[in-house]
């Protein structure tokens, strides 16, 4: 499902002393099957963008096109539920949304709201709990008896069980341990590939953005500062540094290497594999020369 934001503006608390312009002239195209990463400083408007992707917020100006539906500032709009069925959002700290007596019931909650039968929802719950790396025994437990990391996984399973076409992730690994982080990010990537989903990820990890995303959008003070492929974004670290953002460790390493040995690689490497290959090639060249 294609999603497109066109000149979106969003103001929080219009007509109050707290009125706040959170998004200004934001245009982003997310064709079906894209893995898009949104990076930017805290408060730059990332979460606000995400809430536009399933019409939880409506733009105060401009429009959001989700599949064949258009969301604008107009008062009454129907069929928002059908949008929400196709676009699943994993909010920041999603474990705060758990409420049912058992994990299974909580995971079934989303699908059943969207009209899935109980038996089908239960089947999906079993599938989803395995996907997020937990065992089936957990289904019978109370979500409040779990550890923080397990609760996070259960909450994610609750969104996966809705079987959306688009998955939206707001810093899904914040506060997890490094191994848990990698497991969850790899799981989302596998799903993205296997089910041909669109994935939109907000992250503070430049490594994750470089590793998984096809496209990166850099936000700054409510505006799109830059968009492009990871290579295009991380090619010139200077602009990013000025925003207080970083480039992936790999890029930093390459830049240092180039400065120290006065060499120039053929491209900016954004993953460890690419860099290893380039260094290998360089060594071979040096070997041939001497």
């Amino acid at each position: 499902m294609d999603i497109s934001l066109q000149q979106v503006e969003y103001r929080y608390q219009v007509n109050s002393p707290f009125e706040h312009l959170a998004l200004e002239d934001v245009s982003i195209d997310i064709p079906s099957g894209t893995y898009l990463a949104i990076i930017g400083h805290t408060g730059s408007g990332k979460s606000t963008i995400l809430q536009h992707l399933n019409a939880i917020l409506k733009p105060t100006k401009g429009k959001v096109i989700i599949g064949d539906q258009e969301v604008t500032n107009a008062k009454k709009q129907k069929n928002l539920k059908s949008i929400r069925k196709k676009v699943g959002i994993v909010f920041q700290f999603p474990e705060h949304q758990l409420f049912e007596e058992t994990v299974e019931k909580d995971i079934c909650f989303g699908p059943m709201n969207f009209g899935v039968s109980e038996s089908e929802a239960k089947r999906r719950a079993r599938e989803a709990i395995l996907q997020v790396g937990l065992s089936e025994e957990i289904l019978a437990k109370s979500p409040f008896d779990l550890s923080g990391g397990q609760m996070r996984r259960v909450a994610i399973a609750g969104v996966l069980a809705m079987e959306p076409d688009v998955i939206v992730l707001d810093e899904p690994t914040a506060g997890l341990d490094p191994r848990g982080r990698k497991e969850i990010m790899d799981m989302f990537y596998r799903l993205h590939k296997d089910r041909n989903l669109s994935t939109i990820l907000v992250t503070h990890s430049m490594e994750d953005a470089a590793l998984y995303a096809d496209q990166i959008v850099v936000m700054h003070q409510g505006k799109v500062f830059k968009k492009g492929s990871p290579r295009e974004i991380f090619q010139s670290p200077v602009g990013l540094m000025e925003l207080g953002l970083d480039v992936p460790e790999v890029v930093r390493f390459q830049n240092k290497l180039e400065d120290t040995f006065h060499v120039k690689f053929s491209k900016t490497c954004v993953t460890l594999e690419e860099l290893t290959e380039e260094i290998h090639r360089l060594f071979k060249k040096v070997g041939e020369l001497t």
């Binding site: 939880i56 909010f91 705060h96 969104v159």
Partner: protein, 265 residues
């Protein structure tokens, strides 16, 4: 979704009301609550209204913002008004429509009672809009200080109040977040049948309760870790400062009271 509620919110702007001593503001609101009941005719209600709007003006909080935040209260006022129209049967008949008769007394009572209600809400909202919770608590603790002699737990009460006030906006934000998260999971908070609406409250309330309990526990631990052991012998970092402005405001209210006494029937 909940961001419009203003009850318990403090608006940080520079204004005479913001500069006042919280003790003076508390006294004024308390007195106002009493003298509202003196009004019983058009002139006295007019005087009260003028005074209240003067205060709103002095607070520099945009009037439209306050009105927007009191929308829910308007429904309550409207309800009171209609109740009076139906139930008070005094004075001349104004008009009759089927079995529904409006008496002059009913209309008058309806308007007066709604107005009383509205002015009370406006004044009490002004207190929280222009005074930080901490100031309100400090003010209350000072004003109620004499009661300590009678073993009345003034400090504990003040602390409880300040904590509740402090966490109202937090709770609102939390409510907003959880509503959004459950909306994304297919809950419809704004429509549906009554049964659906009641059902949609559970996924909202349970997470809210859980996070509130968690927060209370964390707060208690944090306070103990920093050596809190109750009010005994505790000194104050912020000292309250009574100024000419405060005396002036009290005198103004005294004048209003006098006027009310003169003009009431």
């Amino acid at each position: 979704m909940m961001e419009k509620m203003i009850i318990g919110r403090y608006i940080p702007v520079e204004s005479p009301l913001h500069r006042m001593d919280p003790r003076a503001k508390l006294m004024i609101v308390f007195l106002f609550v009493c003298i509202v009941f003196l009004a019983n005719n058009a002139i006295t209600y007019g005087i009260l209204a003028v005074y209240t709007f003067l205060m709103v003006f002095a607070s520099k909080v945009p009037f439209r913002y306050i009105m927007g935040g009191l929308k829910i209260v308007f429904w309550l006022i409207l309800f009171t008004m209609i109740l009076h129209l139906f139930l008070t049967k005094e004075g001349d008949i104004l008009f009759q429509w089927g079995w529904f008769t409006v008496y002059e007394g009913g209309l008058r009572q309806g308007i007066f009672i709604s107005m009383r209600f509205f002015l009370l809400i406006l004044m009490t909202s002004l207190l929280t809009l222009t005074t930080t919770p901490i100031e309100i608590t400090d003010g209350l603790e000072e004003l109620l200080g004499p009661l300590k002699k009678f073993k009345f737990p003034v400090h504990e009460l003040a602390l409880m109040m300040s904590i509740s006030l402090r966490f109202i906006p937090t709770l609102m934000d939390e409510t907003d977040k959880i509503m959004k998260a459950q909306t994304a999971r297919g809950v419809d908070f704004s429509g549906g049948t009554i049964k659906e609406r009641i059902n949609s409250i559970i996924p909202l309330l349970i997470p809210l309760f859980i996070s509130s309990f968690k927060r209370a526990e964390e707060l208690a631990v944090a306070m103990e870790a920093r050596g809190y052991r109750g009010g005994e012998g505790r000194t104050k970092y912020r000292l309250l400062q009574w100024s000419l402005l405060d005396t002036g405001m009290l005198i103004l209210l005294a004048l209003v009271t006098l006027l009310l006494a003169v003009f009431r029937m």
